[in-house]
Amino acid sequence: MNALATIPDRIDMADPIPVLSVSGLKTRLFLKDGVLPAVDDVSFSVMPGETLCIVGESGCGKSMTALSIMRLLPRPVGRITGGSIMVDGVGDLAELSERQMRRVRGNHISMIFQEPMTSLNPVFRVGYQISEAIRVHHRVSASEARDRAIDMLEQVRIPLPAERYRSFPHQLSGGMRQRVMIAMALAGRPKLMLADEPTTALDVTIQAQILKLMNELKREIGMSLVLITHDLGVVAKMAQRVLVMYAGVVVEEADANSLFARPLHPYTQGLLRSIPRPAVRRERKGEIDTIEGTVPALTALPTGCRFSDRCPMVHEPCRKLEPPLASPDDIAAPHRKVRCWLHASPPQ
C-alpha cells in the first residue's frame, strides 16, 4: 500500500502533542579525512504555536540539525545515522523515502535560509516561483495559483503585490526577497517553519520588520517556528524556549526567561557575558568577558565534556566523561536541561 495515503493534508490544531519531536538525532559527515559527528544525540520537541530558538556559534551543528530534519543534508557526505524525527501526523522523517519526503516539505514543514538570493531562481519572476510552489502542493489551475500567489505576497505585507508578482529576484531588496521566501514557505500551509538565520544578512531596521512579520504570521496561521540564530538579541525577542548547542551537542535547554536570567551551563554563561550588554556597555571601554580559545574542530573534540578545554569551571570528571543532558540536580528546575557535571553527579 502506498504509505503516502496515510499522510493527512492538515494536522489537528488543538492537539497538545508536539508538532515535531526529535530524539537522539545523530548526523555524520563522511569526509575524506574522517567522519565528523556534526550532530550528536540531539533531542528536543516543538509544541503547536511555539517558537523554539536554536542558538550557538558557527560549527555547533544548529544548521545541520535543521537540514537533517528537512532531509536536505549535503549528499553524499551527510547522513543521519541514528535517532528519530517524529512529525505529528506523518511519522518518522528519518524513515521516509525521498519521494515521501517531498510531500512533507512545504506541506508539514518548510524552511527558509539566510540568503534568500541563493534560494530564489534568478531567471524566473518571483510570482511564478510562488505559484509553482502552490501548484506542487495543491491541484489548482495556473490562474488560480497566480491569484493565490498574489494573496501570499499580500500576506507577507509586500506593497503592490500584483506588480511585485512580475518582479525578478534581483529587482527586490534583501528584505523583500526574504518576504518572498516566507511567502513560498507558507504556500503549503505548513504547521512548522524552520528558519535558519533568516535575518542575519539584513539590516537592523529590516530585521525588525521580518521578525515582526514572522510573529504575526505565526499567530495568524497557528504555526510553530524553529528559529536558528547566533544572535542572542533575536533569541531574547522571539523565543519561548531556547536550545543552546556547542560542538554538535545540546548543552542547555530552557525557557527563554530562565535562560537569560540564570544560564546554567558555563558555555551559555560565557556566551551571554561576551556580548556587550547594556550594563557592560555603560562602563565603556572596560574589558568584556570572553570565552578563551576557540570552538574545537569536530575532528579534534576533547574527551569528556566538549567544552572542557575552554571552561573556566572545569573539574575532575569533565575531561573524562561526557555529561548527560539532564535536569539539573542542584536546583529545582524540572523543565530545564543542562549537560554539565556541575549540575549532575558523575557515576561512581
Binding site: D203, I206, G233, A236, P276, R277
Partner: protein
C-alpha cells in the same frame, strides 16, 4: 581646544553610474558632504545600514579612494588630493583593518612575510630589526612566536583578524580605520578582538574610526558616535548621550530596532516602513522623509543642516524642537536587566 588629529570637511564621493544614452549623467552619491573630526586617542563610532556610505567614507579617509570634493585634514595637512607618491608617508600614519581578514591576507605569504611587507615598503630597519619588530607585533596581538612561519589558512577567523591588526600596527600608525572588524566573527571571539583593540589603544594612544552596523559593539567601544544615512551624517554625539537620548528620528528607530539580549527588556519599537531608497535618486530635502514617522511636507523642501541641538550633540532634522516632547519611544532605552 587643540586641533583634532583628523578633520574632514565637506567630503564627497560620487560614483558615476552606467550613463544613459541621452540625458544627464547620473551619480551614486555614496558620501555626500560629510564633516567629522577625530581627536588623538579617541574612538569615533560610525554606524548606519548597508549602502549608507560608511565603508566608502572609511576608504576615503584611509585614502584608498579619491574624494570627489572636500578636505581630509590629517595632522594639519589636507591629504584629500595627494598623489600616490606624496601619500606614502601618510599611509604609515593611517592604516585600515577589514571585515574579512581572510580576503585581506595573501594566502601565499607566511604571517612573518605579511607583517614584514609594510616595513620593507617603507624602508624600516634592516633584516634582523624587521624580524624583531615582527616578533614584537605577534606578541602585541596575542599570537605565539611559532606562528610566524605559518600561512593564513592555518588560523581561525579570530586569529586571522589578529594578523590583520598586527599588520595595521606594523608602521606605528596614529589612526586606524576599522571597517566592521568583528562582524564576521563568532560572539565569543568578537569580545576577544574588541578587548585587544581597546588595550592597544590604551597602550599606543591610537585613534580609531570604528565602522560597524552592530549598535552594541559601537556603544561599548566608542567615545563619540556618528550615524550615517544615505551619504550624510544625520547625528553625532558623545556615545553615552547618543544612546540615552537619540535625537534624529532615524537614530531613534535604529536604536529601538536593535534587539537587546534580554527577554524582559521592554522596548517600544519603531518599525520603519520600507527600505533605504536608492542612493542614485535619494529623496529631496531630508533623505529620511520616505521612512520618517514624523515627516511633514516641508521636510522635502530643504536639506536640514547638521547643527548642535544640545552642546556637542548634532542632528540633521528640521523638526527636532517640535518632536522632542512627543517621542514615539519615550524611555525606550531605559532598559535595566533584572538580576
Amino acid at each position: 581646544m587643540t586641533a583634532p588629529l583628523l578633520d574632514v570637511k565637506g567630503l564627497k564621493r560620487h560614483f558615476p553610474t552606467e550613463s544613459p544614452l541621452f540625458g544627464a549623467k547620473r551619480f551614486v552619491k555614496a558620501v555626500d558632504g560629510v564633516d567629522l573630526a577625530i581627536g588623538k586617542g579617541e574612538t569615533l563610532g560610525l554606524v548606519g545600514e548597508s549602502g549608507c556610505g560608511k565603508s566608502t567614507l572609511g576608504r576615503l579617509i584611509a585614502r584608498l579612494d579619491e574624494p570627489t570634493a572636500g578636505e581630509i585634514v590629517f595632522e594639519g595637512r589636507d591629504i584629500a588630493r595627494l598623489d600616490d607618491r606624496a601619500l606614502l608617508p601618510v599611509r604609515q600614519s593611517i592604516q585600515m583593518i577589514f571585515q574579512n581578514p581572510f580576503a585581506s591576507l595573501n594566502p601565499r605569504m607566511t604571517v612573518g612575510a605579511i607583517l614584514e611587507e609594510p616595513l620593507i615598503i617603507h624602508g624600516k630597519g634592516d633584516r634582523s630589526k624587521r624580524r624583531r619588530r615582527v616578533m614584537d607585533l605577534l606578541g602585541q596581538v596575542g599570537l605565539r612566536p611559532d606562528h610566524v612561519d605559518r600561512y593564513p589558512h592555518e588560523f581561525s577567523g579570530g586569529q586571522r583578524q589578529r594578523i590583520g591588526i598586527a599588520r595595521a600596527l606594523a608602521l606605528e600608525p596614529d589612526l586606524i580605520v576599522c571597517d566592521e572588524p568583528v562582524s564576521a566573527l563568532d560572539v565569543s571571539i568578537q569580545a576577544q578582538i574588541i578587548n585587544l583593540l581597546q588595550r592597544l589603544q590604551r597602550e599606543l594612544g591610537l585613534s580609531y574610526l570604528f565602522i560597524s552596523h552592530d549598535l552594541s559593539v559601537v556603544e561599548h567601544i566608542s567615545d563619540r558616535v556618528a550615524v550615517m544615512y544615505l551619504g550624510r551624517i544625520v547625528e553625532e554625539a558623545d556615545a553615552v548621550e547618543m544612546y540615552r537620548r537619540p535625537l534624529h528620528p532615524y537614530t531613534e528607530a535604529l536604536l529601538s530596532a536593535h534587539p537587546e539580549p534580554d527577554p524582559l527588556a521592554v522596548s517600544r519599537e519603531i518599525i520603519l516602513e520600507g527600505g533605504v531608497p536608492s542612493p542614485v535618486n535619494p529623496p529631496a530635502g531630508c533623505h529620511f522623509t520616505t521612512r520618517c514617522p514624523y515627516v511633514q511636507p516641508r521636510c522635502s523642501e530643504t536639506t536640514p543642516p547638521l547643527v548642535d541641538h544640545h552642546p556637542g550633540h548634532k542632528a540633521r532634522c528640521l523638526r527636532l524642537d517640535e518632536i522632542e516632547g512627543n517621542r514615539l519611544t519615550e524611555g525606550a532605552r531605559t532598559v535595566e536587566h533584572k538580576s
